[in-house]
């Protein structure tokens, strides 16, 4: 990163999210203090500095676009930032809250709030990249602290990092974890999910639930067919795909296909929720 003689300037912004990806910074421990000494963190509300209007070299954005104010705010951030990096499933894929995109959001708001007219909420929760250009996407729910730190270091050194989006299966092999699909018959999403988490679910004797988003060249339809062949109902297959990263392709398209099969098969809307 060419900044002349001044220190690089960083901002961390939050949109609609749980805050877990910002914690990737706050959980760093000692490296956080070291980072704060090498760069100027101009805006990071949870850590203290507040200056949303600041011009920065790298803006990290957590959270999805969810309200009528978000798009304008985001465009302002994009204008004032040399590089914009999205961190986590909400920013890269709309988050678990994007499940409302598949339903009647107004009805959902009324289901929670007695006076929905006071609530500013768009019908769709959308990823940051649907509103502004994004320079680097770090997927995951939550994003990995190592990945964020590595990306920061790489960008400060002047290059974009290479992010591995091969399937979780690769990580299981690297970690010599026994395949839970083969050995236990668990409905693991690993074959179609991007690595990055360290394959924790298989290592903890459970199936992956795709929190890191689609792997590169994910063969979702074959995996879904395999799950159906093992006896999993269509609705359950749809729910596996339409989950935390359900708004991202190919999960979304395939998930909606399987959801449609439920309705077709039953001839009536026996399963309305995804």
């Amino acid at each position: 990163m060419t900044t002349g003689t001044r220190r690089a300037r960083i901002a961390v912004h939050k949109f609609s999210s749980c805050d877990g990806c910002q914690l990737a910074f706050l959980n760093l421990g000692e490296p956080l203090l070291a980072l704060a000494e090498t760069v100027d963190i101009l805006h990071f509300a949870e850590a203290g500095p507040v200056d949303e209007e600041a011009e920065v070299d790298i803006a990290f954005v957590e959270g999805s676009v969810a309200t009528s104010q978000d798009a304008a705010r985001l465009r302002g951030i994009r204008q004032r930032s040399r590089f914009l990096v999205t961190i986590g499933a909400c920013a890269t894929a709309g988050g678990i809250q994007a499940l409302r995109n598949l339903h009647d959001a107004d009805e959902w708001v009324s289901g929670v709030y007695a006076q929905p007219e006071h609530i500013d909420l768009l019908a769709d929760s959308s990823p940051i990249a649907e509103t502004v250009k994004v320079d680097l996407e770090l997927w995951g729910c939550p994003v990995s602290g190592e990945q964020v730190l590595a990306a920061t270091t790489a960008m400060l050194a002047g290059h974009l990092p290479r992010v591995d989006h091969s399937a979780v299966c690769m990580e299981c092999k690297r970690q010599q974890a026994v395949c839970v699909m083969v050995a236990q018959g668990r409905p693991c999403m690993g074959p179609v999910t991007s690595t990055g988490c360290g394959a924790i679910c298989p290592r903890f004797q459970r199936d992956c639930y795709a929190c890191y988003g689609p792997a590169v060249q994910a063969n979702v339809s074959t995996l879904a067919t395999h799950l159906a062949d093992t006896g999993m109902p269509a609705g359950e297959i749809a729910r596996r795909l339409l989950f935390i990263n359900g708004h991202a392709e190919p999960f979304r398209g395939e998930g909606l296909d399987w959801q449609a099969r439920v309705i077709q098969r039953s001839g009536r809307r026996e399963e309305e929720q995804g």
Partner: protein, 433 residues
């Protein structure tokens, strides 16, 4: 502008050093606060609706996403409710290990709050990195304790944010003895630091600000309450969590996307200070003595003592984790089989910020028909607004805007609000005419 007839507005646009997005609007008329609104504008994510139709495991995985700082609390309240519906009683090993995992979250969350969010105020800094330049040992101690909390959660859940280890009936995976042994060594070393932390927080320049409020928490026949108990108050409440809705009511206010709550029509406090106030007799004798000697008197009516309460609970969490892992033996079966059936059930546990109540209705295939989640920060909103009026008035409304802004933020930070949770930067508007 006359001192006695100050009139105007103060705004804090983005609340700093709290989790989530909030603002504060204050209007002063003739030297008195006319209106005060804690505006929560964190966009709603509508969890209670998106859970409908999903499986019990999906519930556990989903509710973690309500909060990045307290995902374990959400998972624990959820699994308690689910297991009560399914008629599952966790084994003693599972109960103990869940309590250990929860202790990890208390340790992580409280340490993060004390060092990164709250302490800078009391020592005159804007942020922890700034504070670290002059107080490196204390900040690093805090980061170590926070890291240890994260390590405990990772041990049982694979990662500290949105852990993956919990399921109805127990855990997917039992950590091996060697891993627990390493953890225990770090906990034992850290206990001395936890003692020092209590003394350090008690010695901070904490403002005097006694107020009248109701402390609400869980209470357990034997233990300091974390994972289970009845809901009690220091005014005689003693309630089965199943009856929560009889006495506690949630309602919407126009200026907040987080629902407010009242107990019998009044604001109330949940969280570390409320818990400690109600459960001093559940502290181990040595810790009770340490607390009695620290110079801050409990039970306390001063919200600024919350930082000390958190330090005490850090010690509680570490000591409990050590106690429960003594003679650790990884369970051969870390979980029991669970039946598929429907019904209604509640789960109420003590999140770091206070009681977290879940209620689910499951259909015959054990999928969610209805979900209701009441987070601690929502419950504290009314109390926060009440506190702000009293505290700022006492502080002196004639003081300049910046001083009032900072004091307002410090009052709010006492509550360690978790705004992303509360909503399914303190924008401080201080109206002066």
């Amino acid at each position: 502008m006359s001192r006695t007839t100050r009139t105007g507005e103060i705004h804090v646009p983005i609340l700093a050093r709290v989790e989530g997005e909030g603002a504060l609007d204050i209007r002063i008329e003739a030297g008195r606060i006319e209106t005060l609104k804690l505006r929560i504008f964190e966009p709603p994510r509508l969890f209670e609706k998106l859970l409908e139709g999903r499986s019990t495991q999906d519930v556990i995985d989903s509710v973690a996403r309500i909060c990045g700082i307290c995902p374990v609390a959400y998972q624990m309240s959820a699994v308690a409710a689910i297991e009560s519906i399914l008629g599952v009683t966790p084994t003693p090993w599972v109960e103990a290990m869940r309590r250990v995992m929860y202790c990890g979250e208390w340790l992580q969350s409280h340490s993060l709050h004390i060092h990164l969010l709250a302490a800078p105020d009391f020592l005159g800094y804007n942020s922890a990195p700034a504070m670290a330049r002059d107080h490196p040992d204390e900040v690093r101690r805090g980061l170590r304790l926070q890291g240890l909390g994260n390590e405990i959660i990772r041990t049982f859940g694979g990662r500290s944010v949105h852990p993956v280890g919990l399921c109805p009936g127990g855990f997917f995976h039992a950590p091996d003895a060697a891993t627990i042994e390493t953890l225990r060594e770090r906990l034992a070393q850290g206990l001395e630091e936890a003692r020092d932390l209590i003394a350090w927080t008690a010695g901070l320049p904490l403002p005097e600000d006694d107020q009248d409020f109701v402390s609400v928490s869980l209470r357990h026949p034997r233990d300091y309450p974390i994972t289970a108990g009845r809901i009690v108050s220091d005014r005689g409440l003693d309630l089965d969590p199943a009856d929560f809705a009889q006495r506690f009511r949630e309602f919407q206010v126009p200026h907040s996307t987080a629902l407010h709550a009242q107990l019998d029509g009044h604001p109330y406090l949940v969280g570390p200070l409320a818990r400690l106030n109600n459960n001093l007799d559940r502290l181990p004798a040595g810790l009770r003595q340490l607390l009695d000697d620290c110079g801050v008197s409990f039970p306390s009516r001063n919200m600024f003592h919350s930082i000390v309460a958190r330090a005490v609970e850090i010690h509680v969490a570490m000591a409990e984790a050590l106690r429960l892992t003594e003679d650790y033996d990884p369970a051969a079966e870390p979980r029991v089989e669970v039946p598929v059936r429907g019904g209604v059930g509640v789960g109420c546990t003590e999140a770091p910020r206070g009681i977290l109540w879940h209620r689910y209705a499951l259909d015959g295939e054990a999928r969610v028909a209805e979900a209701r989640i009441v987070p601690p920060t929502s419950q504290n909103q009314a109390r926060m607004e009440e506190d702000l009026v009293t505290s700022l008035t006492r502080f002196g409304l004639a003081r300049d805007d910046d001083a009032l802004r900072l004091h307002g933020e410090m009052v709010i930070r006492n509550y360690d609000p978790c705004i992303s949770c509360a909503t399914h930067f303190l924008d401080f508007h201080f109206l002066r005419k």
